[in-house]
Amino acid sequence: MRYSGFKVIKEALTGHKGWTPAWREPEPKPHYDIVIIGGGGHGLSTAHYLSKVFGLRNVAVIEKGWIGGGNVGRNTTIIRSNYLLDGNEPFYEFSLKLWEGLEQDVNYNAMVSQRGIINLIHTDAQRDAFTRRGNAMILNGADAELLDAEQVRKEYPFLNFNDARFPIKGGLAQRRGGTVRHDAVAWGYARSADSHGVDIIQNCEVTGFRIENGKCLGVETSKGFIGAGKVGCAVAGNSGRVMGMAGMRLPIESHVLQAFVSEGLKPVLPGVITFGAGHFYVSQSDKGGLVFGGDIDGYNSYAQRGNLPVVEDVCEGGMALMPMIGRARLLRMWGGIMDMSMDGSPIIDRTGIDGLYFNGGWCYGGFKATPASGFCFAHLLAKDEPHPTATAYRFDRFRTGRMIDEKGMGNQPNLH
């Protein structure tokens, strides 16, 4: 079924009887060409591109709970491609381009909103670093703008320009950055993949891999064994757990990142703002809630919930940056499991096991990467060679010393 304004009106006038389920609820077949573990944003987008772009239809996505219940349903909805390093920037720019055509591609309005993002500058050293980054973005074909304090004040007059502890000296803006309605991303990809024949199997948990003489033959699940020509793992925060079943240790730790939303407010924030002197970034959803977050709690966790110190740290940053939000109320806080890698950059690669492929290590940059991650993973699964923009995302980069370390924090995941 095609969604359109016309269809909505037609259904409205005929009592909405014609709407059908957005995706089927199939039972697993005994064997698929490709099985993707993880019905989150990345798994579902992988399925979409596999079926629509690479023409592979005998594909299943298996999800232990409900699709879109992981990080794609619990993030701060920001998209951007303002990266510094050549290993990253082309990939995230590719992702941003895919975002720009997403709705028409999947026939689902995920409300991709290119309202712009700005990273604030508070020191001269920061300006130097952001200048280098802005240049890297432009040299890689992305857009970037370096603003001085006055330009920032013009766009965001309500930021703290009076008694800031760390005065705002400018910002690096990317106008094409913005936000997306996160749940709709999962649903849109799922609906599209389903319409191209992909089986989306919910409430089906992987309990193990069937591996014989170095080759992965399929997965053991709560719904029985499912054979597969190739298995792709895209389970974000659970990467360590799942790949552990295949006997692999990863350069990844799982950490909790909290996110927050305020009560609904009339529009105050045009775009996305990132504080450069504290842990705080914020945007305003179309419903009016301020969606904001900060740093990870900093300790390994699979609990999907955090603690007060970080809540306070984030709100301190918010008040320091924009004291006018003081009387807005924080409505809900929640936590997601972040697959924090050893250099802050992801991995999309084969594994030591034939037929088993891995996609993970997204830290908390996973949401913006959803389209490119799926596209590049689909490319790898379909052609057995990495997509040109993802060639650096290899497992062995740590062994060979070719880390992609945007923040320069080294092999300590909770600092990335």
Partner: protein, 95 residues
């Protein structure tokens, strides 16, 4: 969270700085045959369990002790806290 410091008793975890897996105590022998491979494994690979996890915390806002905390990463329950120095010695580390 509250960490029961072996010397100071219950202290808010916000006084501490987290490093990571306590395996970081087992720094390989720099002269070993496979030193490079061993250091790669030591520096980069993690068990990352969803369950009991031995991990290193530094009491920055306290007595500057490094602690080995045994904590369940699924529930955050803490079952054991030791001075890292004692653990290191028990594992045969010296000079």
């Amino acid at each position: 969270m509250i960490i029961h410091h072996p010397l100071l008793g219950p202290r808010d975890s916000s006084e501490f700085v987290y490093l990571g897996d306590a395996s970081l105590i087992n720094r390989p022998d720099w002269q070993a045959e496979d030193a490079t491979e061993a250091f790669y494994d030591y520096a980069y690979l993690r068990d990352n369990p969803a369950g009991e996890h031995r991990e290193l915390w530094f009491h920055e806002g306290g007595d500057r002790s490094w602690l080995v905390v045994t904590r369940n990463t699924a529930t955050h329950e803490i079952s054991k806290v030791e001075l890292a120095r004692d653990v290191a010695r028990a594992q045969g580390r010296s000079k």
